[in-house]
Amino acid sequence: MNDPIIRFDNVVKRFGDHTVLDELNFDIRKGEKVTIIGPSGSGKSTVLRILMTLEGIEGGVVHVGGEPLWHEHGPVGLVPASQAHLHRMRGQLGMVFQQFNLFPHMTVLRNITEAPVKVLGLGKAEARDRAEELLELVGLSDHAQKYPHQLSGGQQQRVGIARALAMRPNILLFDEPTSALDPELVGEVLNVIGQLSEEHDLTMLLVTHEMRFAREISDRILFFDQGRIVEEGSPAQLFTSPQRERTREFLGSELDRVLAV
């Protein structure tokens, strides 16, 4: 019952001879809301992209829902995953991108219904009904027939969230969902994410620089530096009494960044 829904087991990730993740280990329990913080280039996005199967791994094993993500059980131990396995595993995950990555030639409604119809095999009417519910959830009921370029950044990102949710993932990954937004649009997106964080069953893994928000919604914070977890703990522990010098330094610099704006 306490089996983690996500487990990184000595995961190694390299780009060429640059080792980005060096034997990374961590667990996330079902329903947990975890925020990853850390300086630029520390490997935060890489962790999410590995989970979303956008990036492979060079060593170790990633487990999702108790099954290896990038491997399959062969006759003698683990073998690299087939496309079919990756396809099946991806069904558990959804991702919200920093740049939204909406399909610009599809209406908002089509952005949200395309995958449920083609991948989950939902009927068009059913998919539309669900899309409309999701649009209501993110506060965009009146925009179903618009194209992404007709929406503000904040609205586009809310469509991005609705699109990910339409696939009914157990795990939702957010990679700096508000970093590309004008400051006055950040709030509307954080509100939606905050609302989702109350869903008991949904596991959330969030990369953000919004420290106040992270503190409010997270069960746990992981502080990354150079592809390793330097410190982790509850928001209260990590933000008020960080144990490591490196963590204090980072939080200080983030505070300066916020105050400088």
Binding site: F103, P104, E114, K118, Y147, M167
Partner: protein, 230 residues
Amino acid sequence: MLFGFEWDTTNALTLALSILPILMVGLWVTLQATVLGFFVALVMGMVLAVLKGARSRLVSWPAYAVTEFIRDTPLLVQLFFLYYVLPEYGIVLPAFLTGALALGIQYSAYTSEVYRAGLEAVGHDQREAARALNLSRARTFTHVIVPQAIPRIIPAMGNYLVSIMKDVPVLSVVTVLEMLNVARIVGDRTFDYLVPLSMVGGIYLILTLVASSGVRWLDRNLPNQGIPLK
């Protein structure tokens, strides 16, 4: 007389008016060669683009080699090759077909690059979004990548259509009676080259200007987000 039309050599104007229908017959052949050549270039270019995109080097390398070979040799060499060499192997095509084929093959080297550039211009973020949504490769290609590539591909193809039209006179060397060849024959027989050749130049100028403004109109009016899907 040519194609049943008589010419009137009284003065330049009467000559021009009387040979206009004759040149139109040649123009019709020119346009047919253009369209057929363009069609061959579109289809063969697509085949080359797909082969060049293949993951196996065994497939992609020959496609690159063929493209490079086509691009680095003159159209006339390819045309002569098809016209004089193929019959030695028992493949005898009418001059018109041979010519259109040579044009199509020549331009397939360029159109294949248009396809590839158009597809590659669709950002990687779109493929990643499709992957995160678990869309199949085929569905991603046909419904995410291609609709966004088309508005980039069409204007570039339009420019090559114009180029092909301007290259059709090369076919005259293998006896195709396209517009320039017809004008030369008229000149041979009337001893006046100035009028027919000027007319060919003028007709080409008009056609090219019209076609180019059509391409520019397309460029402006195609939806730059991609072919809309509701």
